[in-house]
Symmetry: C2
Subunit: 598 residues, 2 copies
């Protein structure tokens, strides 16, 4: 605090002493004012890591001031991604930032609920530690409940209200993240009311101590939406709003709608119609990506690209930029971010083409951090401590353990049906042959084996069922990325390959594996929680993922464009209709476990 | 916190249990959505002190639900006055609230810097205690510095950064109020740089612990404005913005502009042109009164009247209402106020005529609190503790002490010139007759005696000069309301009357007095800090003030419509050009004391 006070005193000196000047003045550009929603000519004066002022800064130019000519450029506050998971990129905070900073994205609010499921508070604290090392502004909002459904699945550790004081007091952790465990409000209320009580205890602690509480209310409406909002403490967000009508209702109920537009889910165009068509005040409309893949960050950009798409939907540039600057800053209480005003952090995106959101240069804390897509800062690779690098705590599985048993010659198998580009699934009951007591999959009818293997050395269970929609003809894939508990999920055309793939992931200590004919064709080691690599760069991960996906497509006959991503969501116990956890096949809406055969 | 969690749990039960219902449903009205800036038909369901939801609430009507037909009415969140001083009304929080609540004003953010000058932290805490007793939501923002100019005046107690932790931790105190001591940023910086350091220490403590810090930057621009903003911690407000251009600059620099519109200063119409003419985003435009007199509260109303005038300036009703609800709620971090959303406080204004802002009924915490201007709640009179009822700590003054001395037959006296309806003054140097070593006033040229008598038993000084503009022909007035230190200020046509008036105020233990021909014609006792009465109702104070002002007009020949108000501001050492404190005549812009004769 003393440091902060001295910094402020120094800024005042620079402004009033007469012999104090700016370090840098950006001269001749246009400034995006994210508070008044204007764009107008103004200089920007910077001292140390802070904005001195935007306006006529001639008197702040001294003999040692660096004057940068930015004529023809537009200066925006650095962008904020308000809801994202580093784990989706499989990258460390550092490697993600390396790809993200050149896009002008200077603040990331990350929800570490994946690593939280794998490693509990220790994993989230390890990520918070890394967040403190990077030059961009990274803060975490942590889950109040791990696993999402304690009655239906096993995570690597449990998190509940008793952990909140410890977690929310940890450096770089600023609030509670998505309330996944109450996204099906009525079901949770009816089936596990004690969870509601515990969540409310957590959110009340968080909100009464001034912290943010994200919600997550996909599809909720009316009284159920109201209950979700109240459970979150009354001031909340949702990042899974998919229709205009849903967006309108949520904005009217005070929800900050995080209009999601990431690598996998694209909901912004639909949501933003509440603004473009209905003229609603957009102050609670916020852009977020949720999940970004390394390859997309590299080739498309990050928040600049999301803003560009928002402008394409008919939103004026200044208003679209508000959705990624001042609006989220207000929501998260980031007092010194989101606007170019005196005393704010000098995190800036210098834009050469506003409609295309082409970012020419990026300033971070008053330093030139990136120029024309190239990072200028040196970010040393971050190595995670050993204690979070060993999350797989079980021995190999045997084929027999992955088999689904039935008597007789035929059985009706329950089959999850994957839907391209959705977390939701359909369901299918299909007659299958039984041989030596084992129900056989049927590749000809796109029915594969599927398993979720508990990997934390806790309950030790294996959930089993059948799956359609992946299109695999020959072979199996397995991964320790399996939302949200991140046990090992696998699918394949034979028990032999299924077993090989699962066991390879176990040997790797977490990761992805592709098997055919009993051999491993490809793999990616994810040593940190079985979710993240701290051994590869973003470029290397992108290349490796492309290779693995090509293998699945070309060698296994897979038909989905992102087979590992889709497979990982078939374990997500909070999104309908059927999902597979280590406890077994979950009928999400009925909140119960089904047998894999009828 | 446990109580809060249980309350939330109870609301969730009412929404989801199937057999839980609303206590009250307001049916058939229009709702002002202060987040989406819309007005549309919706029911409002209330449970206990909270909003359950707004929308279709049919399913929340149970056998014990009170359904209120509000057809033809508009339901707004209760209004917020974001910057006001109870002391200006001379009323206790309780008596002020009694007059304010029926106007639909349900939240008051009060700056107790008057009582803080008179009584220091003890006085502000006493007011904070009272704030906790009233049914409306009253919170205090306290001064970081008392007196405003430690080098030029004496207050009843001193407040500085060392007091912040204690004060900001006190119940019902939520931040730092107006930074009066840095309203002349460059002057303060040049003359008392140690004050800047101390203010920054206070504001850094406040902002880094999540508290609000109001600023006050009348007339500041460019680097000086930027310095003021940074001194306030970067996120601040100003309630003394008077021109459209000033408003535009402040909004652009991120200042929350409290467009003032109270009993004395009326700046809203000018400020709001930044919105109506320039189309600026109004999210940081906020309505506030600063000073409201009891009589105006009674006859005109409170925030409803200010909103009405804002609508008259061409602002749409929903946007004008945002300026007194959701905008200030966001600024002050009032998470459960300013919008009718699930979990919010059920503080509502039911409006029968939106353009006229006629308030039919008011709900406070889910209870009907007022109907057609009549308060329905019982507010017991509040009696302040003895220790804050004795702020005048000096004996009577002698005529001789109030005299201005000079040798010779003539002297050039320095004369403050009061300007109607302004805090600013002009200056005048006028030749005056000297008799028996005393400089004589000259009623024929509107030159009166003026004095400020230190009343706290500290320095004991008496500041003296001459004054024009009050128009008094015969007699004197004195009062213990004298911004901001609230010593006893007096002006009159003879030393005899001046002395009589001052001594009557001392005898009263604080208050107002009118003297003529050595006799006291009228008076008002203000026992709490010499500023507030806890003995009279708002109606009684309004009547008494009317009587005293009539006396000044009819018996003394005074020409100003609010002589006591004007006189009290002639002591305000932070607004140019000349002011009188107990230290003497202050040349505000030069930051020095002048002799009363040249």
């Amino acid at each position: 605090m003393i440091k902060q006070a001295m910094e402020r005193r120094g800024l005042i000196d620079a402004l009033l002493a007469g012999d104090g000047f700016a370090d840098i003045v950006l001269r001749g550009g246009q400034v995006v004012n994210t508070l008044t929603r204007e764009i107008y000519p103004a200089d920007v004066a910077i001292k140390g890591s802070r904005i001195l002022m935007a306006g006529d800064a001639r008197e702040l130019v001294g003999p040692d001031t660096t004057v940068v000519d930015v004529e023809g450029m537009t200066i925006s506050p650095g962008f904020i991604d308000s809801h994202m998971h580093f784990e989706s990129s499989m990258l460390t905070v550092t490697e993600f930032s390396r790809l993200s900073i050149p896009s002008g994205t200077t603040t990331l609010i990350a929800d570490p609920h994946e690593i939280g499921n794998a490693l509990g508070p220790a994993g989230m604290k390890a990520m918070a530690d890394e967040a403190g090392q990077v030059p961009n502004h990274v803060r975490l909002v942590v889950p109040a409940l791990v696993p999402d459904c304690p009655a239906l699945e096993t995570a690597g550790a449990d998190v509940s209200s008793g952990d909140m004081e410890d977690l929310l007091g940890y450096p770089n952790i600023v609030g509670i993240g998505e309330l996944q465990g109450f996204s099906l409000a009525r079901h949770v209320y009816q089936n596990t009311p004690e969870i509601v009580t515990d969540l409310v205890a957590s959110t009340t602690y968080a909100s009464s101590t001034g912290r943010v509480v994200d919600g997550n209310a996909p599809g909720l409406s009316g009284a159920e939406l109201a209950a979700h909002i109240i459970a979150a403490g009354g001031r909340t967000s949702c990042h899974e709003t998919t229709t205009k009508a849903e967006c309108m209702e949520k904005l009217r109920q005070g929800v900050h709608v995080f209009m999601r537009e990431g690598s996998t889910q694209k909901n912004m165009a639909e949501c933003v119609r509440a603004v473009t068509e209905e003229g609603m005040d957009s102050r609670r409309c916020i852009l977020a990506t949720d999940d970004m893949l390394a390859g997309d960050l590299k080739t498309l950009g990050h928040m600049n690209e999301i803003i560009r798409r928002t402008i394409r939907q008919g939103v004026a540039p200044a208003e679209a930029i508000q959705m990624a600057t001042s609006n989220p800053a207000a929501y998260f209480g980031l007092r010194d971010r989101g606007a170019i005003v005196p005393g704010a952090a000098a995190d800036l995106a210098i834009i050469s083409d506003l409609e295309e959101m082409r970012v020419e240069a990026v300033f971070l804390a008053g330093r030139l951090a990136a120029y024309r897509g190239e990072l200028l800062l040196r970010l040393p690779p971050y190595r995670y401590p050993e204690e979070v690098r060993h999350s797989v705590k079980r021995g190999a599985v045997r084929e027999e353990e992955l088999a689904i048993h039935a008597s007789g010659a035929e059985a009706v198998g329950r089959c999850i049906v994957a839907i391209p580009d959705q977390n939701l699934t359909e369901t299918r009951e299909v007659p299958l042959r039984v041989s030596r007591g084992q129900v056989q999959c049927d590749v000809s009818r796109d029915v594969l084996y599927m398993a979720v293997v508990e990997r934390y050395g806790r309950r030790g269970g294996i959930g089993k069922c059948f799956v359609s929609g992946l299109g695999i003809q020959n072979g199996a894939i397995a991964e320790s990325v399996a939302h949200d508990t991140h046990n090992i999920v696998a699918a394949g055309s034979s028990l032999r390959d299924l077993t090989a793939a699962v066991n390879r992931v176990i040997e790797l200590g977490g990761g992805l594996a592709v098997a055919r004919d009993g051999r491993i064709l490809g793999e990616l080691r994810l040593p940190v929680g079985g979710l993240i690599t701290d051994e590869l760069t973003g470029e290397e991960v992108a290349a490796r993922m492309e290779q693995l996906e090509r293998l699945v497509r070309e060698q296994l006959g897979g038909t989905l464009h992102a087979p590992f991503m889709h497979l990982s969501f078939l374990a997500l116990s909070t999104s309908p209709k059927w999902k597979l956890t280590d406890w077994g096949l979950v009928d999400v809406e009925a909140f119960r476990i089904l047998e894999p055969v009828v």
